[in-house]
Symmetry: C2
Subunit: 166 residues, 2 copies
């Protein structure tokens, strides 16, 4: 069982090691692998509309953010990013966070959710987002320099959250 | 005949009225229509790798920027934005700026160019980018709230600039 709650600023110190390891690895996020803690805080919490923490047995096992994907005329679509603690993988935490994020995004008034950069090499994520109702609406050829697999495609994925954009 | 040159900081005051009118109209760019001059300067010149000015007969008739589209593993793809003075439309200035930007992007080391948000309602731009060799690699449904046309689709467009990503 996990619980998901809104993050408070002090949570950053607890999630930074998780973010740092994922960003340093450079395998799944289009983020500078040398990102500093301050930059990561801005990316994950500062620019976000809301940031959340998933906890199990009093320990943080995952985190996600909701952002407005484009300003102005594009502001009805949100973007989310999810990270699960490597020690807690395989327990459905990403799926639970994504379901939670869709409900939160609707409550925040967003009409749709978009992932801008899902790597083809991240097969588990691609399968999961499809299972959760996302559609691949774009494929950017060779968009990401993977540290071991060379250039891999990136998918743009989309899910309407309300009828207005369904 | 137009000439295209790198912008200097002082050029901003000359291009701001052009940017302002396009952004305030809210019909083509996913930018807050209430954007301030300082924010527009950051968007067009501050965050850009390079910004350029097109001049004809000593007058600025257009401007464009080149940015890195995604950091980290995505940093080999650039993004550009182009604006032509309304009084100078229909003279091929956007096409000339786009050709110039492709050469500049190659010189800067980028392997490909991506437009993230070309509105389906902006039919002239869609035709022009196709004519200049860009491919529509994604269609985000109802991604933009157009002030008079309601929700319109946005296209993701891409062009490889070097063989590595062609």
């Amino acid at each position: 069982m996990i619980t998901i709650r809104a993050a408070v600023p002090e949570d950053f110190d607890l999630i930074w090691p998780m973010l740092r390891d994922v960003f340093r690895a450079g395998e799944t996020y289009a983020v500078d692998p040398d990102i500093t803690a301050a930059q990561a805080r801005d990316y994950w919490m500062g620019q976000a509309k809301a940031t959340y923490i998933a906890e199990a047995a009093g320990r943080i096992v995952g985190t996600y953010y909701i952002k407005t994907n484009q300003p102005g005329g594009g502001a009805h679509i949100c973007n989310c990013g999810y990270i699960v603690d490597p020690d807690a993988r395989g327990r459905g935490i990403a799926a639970q966070m994504c379901a939670h994020s869709q409900a939160e995004a609707q409550a925040l008034g967003y009409l749709a959710m978009q992932f801008n950069f899902v790597l083809a090499s991240n097969a588990g994520a691609v399968r999961l987002w499809h299972r959760l109702g996302f559609t691949t609406v774009g494929t950017i050829p060779l968009a990401f320099a993977h540290p071991t697999q060379g250039y891999v495609d990136a998918f743009v994925m989309h899910k309407a959250l309300r009828d207005e954009t369904r």
